[in-house]
Symmetry: C2
């Protein structure tokens, strides 16, 4: 194409792009709602169309097919983690312990907010093809890498004893996921704040020098 060079703001192209974004979001939101209720395999494209207030055919204008919708839904959820956890940690100052506490609390908060979506990402991610799975792994590692970095900084400064930093990051991630995965169990006894507090106490005690 390469038609117009430097299209003006508010141009036809810009409006079109905005409409595309709106449509994709409508579809993603509808698909997320339905999948949370029924899971991927029980979600019919007709149901997504109805929930999104459009026709089936239109979905295929914005996504390649059912599996691409799934991939987009999962990436959408994981993106929230990737955006918020590192942000919370760098806002927490220089103390590794404070960073870990802030990052873990943020992680759990996002998980709590989107509990159903987080579970969805968990259980449906193996439905994706290899490329989709690789993308998910990348997003997840980007999310927890700040944990690893904070632990290493703490070891270097002597606040923490020498422990495998990546394993600690892995454990913190598991504990955050655990709030969603085993909510039927843990959630019956603790609220979110208490869970975060108790888990932090344990995980920090495990590594303190």
């Amino acid at each position: 194409m390469l038609s117009r060079v430097s299209s003006p703001v508010g141009s036809r192209e810009a409006r079109a792009e905005a409409r595309v974004e709106t449509r994709r979001r409508q579809i993603l939101d509808a698909a997320t709602r339905i999948m949370i209720r029924t899971g991927y395999h029980e979600m019919s494209m007709q149901a997504v169309a109805e929930d999104a207030g459009m026709s089936v055919g239109l979905i295929y204008q914005y996504f390649g097919g059912k599996q691409e919708v799934l991939r987009a839904v999962i990436v959408d959820i994981l993106d929230a983690f990737r955006a918020e956890v590192p942000a919370a940690m760098s806002a927490a100052g220089d103390d590794p312990q404070a960073q870990l506490a802030a990052g873990f609390a943020a992680f759990c908060a996002v998980i709590d907010e989107k509990r159903a979506g987080a579970l969805l990402a968990y259980r449906e991610s193996q439905t994706l093809d290899a490329a989709g799975q690789a993308e998910i792994i990348r997003l997840e590692q980007e999310t927890i890498d700040p944990f690893r970095a904070a632990v290493e900084a703490g070891i270097a400064s002597g606040v923490f004893r020498p422990v495998p930093a990546d394993l600690v990051a892995h454990n913190l991630k598991l504990a955050a996921h655990g709030w969603a995965l085993k909510h039927w169990d843990v959630g019956a006894r603790l609220d979110l704040a208490a869970y975060v507090q108790a888990e932090l106490d344990l995980h920090l005690a495990a590594i303190r020098a």
Copy 2:
């Protein structure tokens, strides 16, 4: 019915029962193999029949339907955990630390052996109806209750500081599951023994008085 009172060993009834068990196992093994490869929804009953070396119709003689096959496969896997973990712990003597170490090692060993099956149980258990899910929750709690008991014993005897015992049990379970869930990540850096060792070090350090 109530035909024969006290049927002799090797009677018609006994042989029939043995055959039923053989058949159910053939079906379960075939279904497990296929689901590990493709997942529940992509598993067709025709494929199970072929893999098990029998006809489709026969499966319906031994199981009520596809979902009942799934339930049996999952229960079969969780049963291995429930059998081995408590056994390892009570064989480990009276010291709570030794008990936790033995139980955790056994848990991880079974997970490692049946990694694909454990993941399967994880992924597909939400496909079950309410009764099936309740059974799974029951099996899981039975498996990890010895962890809780050991932690409480340790607190009572002063080896451990006062921590929420059920949360520690929950964390140990997560760490064991983590070996399967995040094997693509952790397994690249550690072997099973090293993982068990490192996790135990962290989890025990977290609770030691």
